[in-house]
C-alpha cells in the first residue's frame, strides 16, 4: 500500500465540485462557474504547463464527464494520473437502508458498458446472494471505479467519510479488503483518506500494516486537523514508514503559499501535496511555493517521487 511513484503535486477536485472549506457561498459560486467543463479543462491545461501531472477525483457522476474531457486532451490523457477518491461507497452503504444495496448499485451502473454490467453483477452478485460481505464490498469498489475505466491511475483513495466511519465502528477489516482488491485489480496503491490522522495511523500500526499511504488535512493553522495540530506534528516527526499526502495545506486559503509550504517542509513523511486551485495565477503561485520549499515532496525537479 506504499505510495511509490505518487505524483508530488496533485490537483484537488474541490473547487470544481463546489467545495470551499472557508466559505460555502464561495464553493457554490465555484460550482456555478465550473459547471461548464471547458473551464475546468482550462485550469487543468494551465496546471499541465506548470508540471502538474496528477489529480484527485471523486467517483461522482460529474467525474466521468471530466474523465471523458481529459481523454480528449492528448497531453493530459498520456501523462496525467488520476487518484480516484470513492465517496459514493458511503452512500451505497448508508443508502442501503432506504433503497436496498442492490438498488443502489443498479443506480450507479448506467455509467458502465453492457459487458461491465454483466461482469460486475456476475462476480459481485453471487457474493451478495451468499451474504458474503467482502465480495459485496469488492463489487461496490468496482462499481465506483467504472467512471475511471481506461484512465491512468496513480492510487485509489478511500474517502475520509468511510475511512473514519469504519474506524469509529471498529470495522477496519474493510481496509484490507480495499487494499487487496485495489492492488490486485487496478495495479496501484490503495490509500486511506482521513480526518483523524494519528488515530488511523495508530490503528493501522496495531493491525500490522507497513508503509500505509494516507491522505489528511495538514496545515500550520490546524484547520480541520484532529485531534490537535500538536498530535499530528508528533506523529509526523516519528512517522517512519507512513507516506502522507497532505490536503488542505493552505487552510482553505487562510495561509499564504510560502508560509504553508515552509511549515510542511519540516515533515519528510509528507511526500505529496493536494492543491485546490481555481485560477491560473493561483496555481502558478502555489506550485511555485511547493517546489521552492518542499524538496521532501520530491518536487524540485517536477519528477514523481519514489518512496522506497
Amino acid at each position: 500500500m506504499n505510495g511509490a511513484g505518487i505524483e508530488p503535486v496533485l490537483l484537488g477536485h474541490n473547487p470544481f465540485f463546489g467545495v470551499d472549506h472557508l466559505s460555502r457561498a464561495a464553493g457554490n459560486a465555484k460550482a456555478a462557474r465550473f459547471a461548464d467543463t471547458t473551464r475546468v479543462m482550462e485550469v487543468l491545461l494551465g496546471c499541465h504547463e506548470l508540471g502538474v501531472r496528477g489529480m484527485v477525483l471523486p467517483s461522482a457522476p460529474r467525474a466521468a464527464e471530466l474523465c471523458r474531457a481529459i481523454a480528449g486532451q492528448p497531453d493530459l490523457d498520456r501523462e496525467w494520473q488520476l487518484y480516484p477518491l470513492i465517496p459514493y461507497l458511503q452512500k451505497h452503504v448508508l443508502g442501503a437502508s432506504e433503497k436496498g444495496l442492490v438498488t443502489r448499485v443498479m443506480d450507479t451502473l448506467p455509467q458502465a458498458s453492457a459487458w461491465q454490467k454483466v461482469s460486475l453483477l456476475w462476480q459481485g452478485g453471487r457474493g451478495m446472494l451468499r451474504r458474503d460481505v467482502e465480495q459485496g464490498l469488492r463489487l461496490l469498489i468496482d462499481v465506483e471505479m467504472v467512471g475511471f475505466n481506461g484512465r491512468r491511475l496513480g492510487a485509489v483513495f478511500l474517502h475520509d467519510a468511510l475511512t473514519d466511519l469504519a474506524l469509529g465502528l471498529g470495522v477496519e477489516a474493510i481496509f484490507k479488503v480495499f487494499r487487496d482488491h485495489v492492488g490486485r485489480k487496478y495495479g496501484v496503491p490503495a490509500g486511506l483518506a482521513t480526518k483523524n490522522l494519528p488515530w488511523l495511523c495508530a490503528r493501522l500500526a496495531q493491525m500490522g500494516w507497513e508503509r500505509p499511504l494516507v491522505m489528511a488535512a495538514l496545515n500550520a493553522r490546524g484547520f480541520r486537523v484532529n485531534p490537535s495540530l500538536a498530535a499530528c506534528e508528533e506523529l509526523l516527526r516519528g512517522a517512519a514508514g507512513v507516506t502522507v499526502v497532505a490536503a488542505g495545506t493552505l487552510a482553505g486559503g487562510a495561509l499564504e503559499p510560502e508560509v504553508a509550504y515552509r511549515y510542511l517542509a519540516q515533515f519528510p513523511a509528507i511526500r505529496s501535496v493536494v492543491v485546490g486551485v481555481s485560477s491560473q495565477a493561483h496555481v502558478a503561485e502555489t506550485v511555485g511555493a511547493i517546489r521552492r520549499f518542499m524538496p521532501c515532496a520530491g518536487a524540485q525537479n517536477g519528477q514523481p517521487l519514489g518512496v522506497d
Binding site: 466559505s23 460555502r24 457561498a25 452503504v93 482553505g252
Partner: protein, 328 residues
C-alpha cells in the same frame, strides 16, 4: 445518520456503541462479519427489549421517531433524537404527556447549533454587545431537490421540515420563542411539500424578523445557512463558515469596528471527526447530559416549539398569509 452517531459514540472516551437497530440486512451482515461486538437488530423494539442501554440515538426516518422516543420513556432509556421529531405536531402529544409524567434525560440533536460560527454567534448575542435588537433574519438554501434520485421518502414534507427546521431552531436559540408569524410557502418541483418558504416572525420579546428557505435552487450543492442581526450598537452577520461583527462602540468584550472571523479562525478540533465536528459536539453534549453535567438543550419541548412554528407557517400560507399565534 445512525451509523455516524454510532461511530462517534464508539470512539469517544467513556462511551461505547453496543447495539444497532438497522432494517437493511447488508448493514447487519457487515457488523456480523466485521465487528460482532456491536450487536444488531432489525428494529429498535427488539433492541430495546434485549439490551440494557444507557442511552439511545434515534436517527430513524421521521415517521418512526416519536414512537421510538415513547418506547424509550416507557423503558426509562435516555435518548438523543434527530430533528424534526415528526411530520406534524399532533402525534407528539403522547410523548409530551409521557415526559411530563415521568421525565428522563433526553435531547434533540440540532447540529447547526454546534457549527463553530453559529455557536460563536450565540455567545456574541448573549453578550448584549449589539444593544437593543432591531431585527434578525436567516436563510437556508440548497439544491437538494434538484439532485436526481434524491428526495423520497426520508426528506418528504417540505423544505420547512428539512433545512428550514434547523434554521428556525437556530433563531429560537438566539431570540427565544416565536409568538406570531405569517408565511408564504409553495411548491415548484416537489409533489409532496413546499420547495420555497418565507416566514415573517414575531418573537415573544417583541423582536421581529424573517426566514427564507429553499431546497430547489440551482448551484447550491452545499447547504448554505446565513443569519443577520442588527441593533442599536451594530450588526452581526454569520454564515456556516464565517462571522462578521460591527460595533459602533466597544461592548461585551468586543472592540468597536469590524471583527471578522473565518472558518480557520473559528475551528476547534475534536477528539474524533466522523462526518463533521458539529456531530461530535452534539454527541459530546448528550454524554454530558447523561452524566448530569449540563442541561439538555434543545430538549423535546424546545424541538416541539419549532414544530409548532412549522405547523403554523403551513396554516398561515394555506389562508393567504394570515397571522397565526403560537402557544409557548
Amino acid at each position: 445518520m445512525g451509523l455516524l452517531h454510532a461511530a462517534i459514540f464508539n470512539a469517544l472516551p467513556g462511551s461505547q456503541a453496543v447495539a444497532v437497530a438497522e432494517p437493511a440486512r447488508q448493514v447487519r451482515d457487515m457488523f456480523g462479519t466485521l465487528n460482532s461486538s456491536i450487536r444488531t437488530y432489525p428494529d429498535s423494539e427488539a433492541m430495546l427489549a434485549a439490551e440494557a442501554l444507557d442511552g439511545l440515538v434515534i436517527a430513524a426516518p421521521v415517521a418512526q421517531r416519536l414512537s421510538i422516543a415513547l418506547s424509550c420513556v416507557e423503558r426509562r432509556v435516555p435518548f438523543l433524537v434527530e430533528e424534526p421529531l415528526a411530520a406534524d405536531l399532533e402525534p407528539a402529544a403522547p410523548l409530551v404527556r409521557a415526559l411530563v409524567r415521568a421525565p428522563i434525560p433526553h435531547m434533540a440533536a440540532c447540529v447547526t447549533r454546534c457549527v463553530d460560527a453559529f455557536e460563536k454567534g450565540q455567545a456574541i448575542l448573549a453578550s448584549g454587545c449589539l444593544g437593543r435588537l432591531h431585527r434578525i433574519t436567516g436563510s437556508s438554501y440548497v439544491s437538494q431537490r434538484l439532485k436526481r434520485g434524491r428526495g423520497e421518502p426520508q426528506d418528504s414534507g417540505g423544505v420547512l421540515l428539512s433545512c428550514g427546521f434547523h434554521l428556525l431552531d437556530l433563531l429560537t436559540w438566539y431570540a427565544g420563542p416565536v409568538a406570531r408569524l405569517s408565511a408564504n410557502v409553495f411548491p415548484a418541483v416537489s409533489s409532496d411539500g413546499e420547495d420555497f418558504a418565507h416566514v415573517m416572525l414575531e418573537f415573544g420579546s417583541g423582536l421581529r424578523g424573517w426566514i427564507d428557505s429553499a431546497w430547489s435552487l440551482r448551484f447550491h450543492p452545499m447547504l448554505e445557512t446565513t443569519f443577520e442581526a442588527s441593533g442599536d450598537n451594530g450588526s452581526l452577520s454569520i454564515s456556516d463558515d464565517a462571522l462578521r461583527l460591527f460595533l459602533d462602540e466597544p461592548a461585551g468584550g468586543y472592540p468597536a469596528g469590524w471583527t471578522a472571523l473565518s472558518a480557520a479562525d473559528l475551528y476547534r478540533p475534536v477528539p474524533v471527526d466522523v462526518g463533521g465536528p458539529q456531530f461530535t459536539r452534539a454527541d459530546q453534549a448528550f454524554l454530558e447530559v447523561l452524566r448530569g453535567k449540563r442541561a439538555a438543550e434543545p430538549d423535546v419541548m424546545q424541538a416541539l416549539h419549532v414544530q409548532r412554528i412549522v405547523d403554523a407557517a403551513h396554516r398561515s400560507s394555506a389562508q393567504g398569509g394570515s397571522a397565526e399565534r403560537i402557544l409557548v
